[in-house]
């Protein structure tokens, strides 16, 4: 008996008074307060936007200031030695002659060695972690790789001096040069001292590996499952799925990881200084001691007594900044080129 009572209330004449409710609402003075609250939000939003825009602006301003400061301080040396500052390998503070070619070459060569060794290892590890590792292996292993990035660089340097250099001197260098006969090429020639461009490249490769691996793992795991399934459903093997669908999808992110590693390799100072031998000499052989820009600045800054020497070190810093920016620019361009079709 409940059901008939419900429609009855709706159809009673009393219910016809319902539409009249609209009349007092239309003329009521309740509208203005809601307008005020709308205006308030806009003001807060503007303040907020201005504030975060200011914070964001700090970063490029800081970069610009550093650039200008270092450039101004290095300008006397750059003007005095001109293009020769980049091509000459004479670095003689006593005679007041400064050419940074060995340090520039050393920076670039050690970074290339580091990336050539670290990229395949890091990518392989990242693929294992994202696509093959059971979950009880994934977490601890990922943590250990991240931990590699947290080791202070001076510790890497100590390890290099007491473990890597003897190993290179006694075993690796003779093996490469004599057993593999790579001594026939100009790149693996000369006496095996230990401290060398090769040692610096190797230690850098270990240091940049966690950066590339961590970023690659994240971007590989971010590839949607649907992409993997699409490839598998076409009859692709697991390997074809990864090389054909997963890696192309993650490509720009992986390149981003490599750029991050490269940035670290270009600027790394302490560990490199401890194993590279610190010699101003341009040699094709990776067995020869060398220099990088960062280690040159670190080594000589406290001893730079005259203005030209100081300015020359600043100029080295300026060139290092410039190279880092250019390399990053090229890498960004590469990402844009290869990943552009996606967006």
């Amino acid at each position: 008996m409940q059901t008939p009572s419900l429609p009855a209330t709706v159809t009673t004449p009393e219910s016809r008074t319902l539409p009249t409710l609209a009349t007092p609402l239309a003329g009521s003075p309740a509208a203005p307060p809601s307008r005020v609250s709308i205006e308030g939000t806009v003001v807060a939003d503007r303040v907020y936007r201005a504030a975060i825009f200011g914070f964001a602006l700090c970063v490029p301003i800081l970069l610009l200031l550093i650039f200008v400061e270092v450039g101004v301080a290095g300008w006397p040396a750059l003007r005095q030695f001109g293009f020769g500052f980049l091509t000459s390998s004479t670095w003689d503070p006593v005679a007041g002659q400064f050419g940074a070619a060995p340090a520039i070459a050393g920076t670039i060569i050690t970074s290339i060695i580091a990336l050539v060794i670290a990229t395949p290892l890091a990518l392989g590890g990242a693929i294992f972690l994202s696509d093959f590792a059971p979950s009880w292996v994934r977490q601890p292993l990922a943590f250990l790789i991240d931990l590699l990035a947290a080791v202070p660089s001076v510790v890497y340097g100590l390890w290099g001096v007491f473990f890597l250099l003897p190993l290179l001197r006694e075993d690796v260098m003779p093996f490469l040069r004599d057993t593999l006969h790579l001594g026939a090429t100009p790149f693996f020639r000369g006496p095996a001292y230990g401290p060398s461009v090769l040692a610096a490249g190797l230690i850098l490769s270990i240091m940049v590996l966690p950066y590339i691996a961590a970023v690659s793992r994240e971007v590989l795991m971010a590839v949607p499952r649907s992409q993997r399934e699409a490839a598998l459903a076409l009859g692709a093997t697991r390997w074809e799925t990864i090389t054909g669908a997963v890696i192309p999808f993650a490509r720009s992110g992986i390149i981003g990881g490599v750029i991050l590693g490269l940035g670290r390799a270009l600027g790394e100072t302490m560990a490199v200084t401890m194993v590279i031998g610190n010699r101003h000499e341009l040699s094709a052989s990776l067995f020869a001691p060398g220099y990088t820009m960062a280690s040159l600045i670190a080594n000589e800054f406290s001893e730079a007594t005259n203005d030209v020497h100081l300015s020359a070190l600043m100029a080295v810093g300026f060139v290092l900044l410039l190279i880092t920016l250019v390399v990053n620019g090229i890498a960004r361009w590469l990402v844009w080129q290869t990943g552009g079709s996606r967006s």
């Binding site: 979950s135 399934e229 598998l232 459903a233 076409l234 692709a236 054909g244």
Partner: protein
């Protein structure tokens, strides 16, 4: 294609319960049922995609040309080259061109390498079959993500067709498409029966009625009823089927 006492699990969840079905050759079979009834899982058992999910497992048999695809001497990769699949959302490979997307399945086929002309011919034929050729013929080198969602889905169908599968599995292929694109895909499905067996999962009963020869109704992992589509939608024999197709639940 047939299933015999097929069971599928996700960990402890029993998603497909004891399903024995025949999918007649060169017919379209629609699998309908409410969300979570196991229809997609059943479909994914037919090309061994179910097992690619962690903790998923399958029991029972699926016979493809008389051979149990779950017997140990069957390579799932080889099987999937004969049993194509299209998913609910379009999954073009974003870094590949339209042409390369269609040709993607050809590149993982074993046997002799096809030359450029052969690949182009297959791509053209597959795109024509998927009713997409006229819309993309002038931008085959363009990005596969630069076309509309409906076009992307037909691209994925063309990609599955390029390897000339014997069976095509469609997992709610129009769920994310607009009505016009849906109509195109349905017309395409209707045409495909001439050359292959098609199994389509859908939650849209009108779609099942429009495109299929046979319909399977599933509920809670069980196959409730299977009949010719006309019979199923006019005189269903199970009260649960009737309740579902008349819209009383689901």
């Amino acid at each position: 294609m047939q299933t015999r006492a097929l069971q599928a699990y996700f960990g402890s969840t029993h998603a497909v319960r004891d399903v024995s079905l025949d999918f007649p050759a060169n017919e379209v079979t629609a699998i309908i049922g409410p969300s979570g009834c196991g229809k997609s899982t059943l479909l994914r058992c037919l090309n061994r995609m179910h097992e690619t999910i962690p903790l998923a497992r399958v029991e029972g048999e699926v016979l493809f040309h008389g051979q149990n695809i779950y017997s140990p001497d069957v390579d799932p990769i080889a099987l999937r080259r004969h049993v194509g699949m299209v998913f609910q959302r379009p999954t073009p490979f974003p870094t590949m061109s339209i042409r390369d997307n269609v040709a993607a399945g050809l590149r993982v086929q074993p046997g002799e390498r096809l030359d450029r002309k052969q690949v182009d011919a297959i791509v053209e034929q597959a795109l024509k079959q998927a009713a997409l050729w006229d819309e993309v013929k002038d931008r085959l080198k363009g990005s596969a993500t630069g076309i509309s969602g409906g076009q992307q889905q037909r691209l994925c169908i063309a990609r599955a067709l390029a390897t000339s599968p014997k069976v095509l599995l469609l997992d709610e292929p129009t769920a994310s498409l607009d009505p016009l694109s849906t109509q195109k895909v349905e017309e395409l499905v209707y045409e495909l029966r001439k050359s292959m067996t098609v199994i389509i999962v859908t939650h849209n009963m009108q779609q099942a009625a429009r495109v299929s020869d046979r319909t399977v109704f599933m509920l809670s992992g069980e196959m409730v009823e299977t009949a010719s589509t006309r019979v199923m939608f006019t005189t269903p024999s199970d009260p649960r089927t009737e309740a579902y197709i008349t819209g009383r639940f689901g």
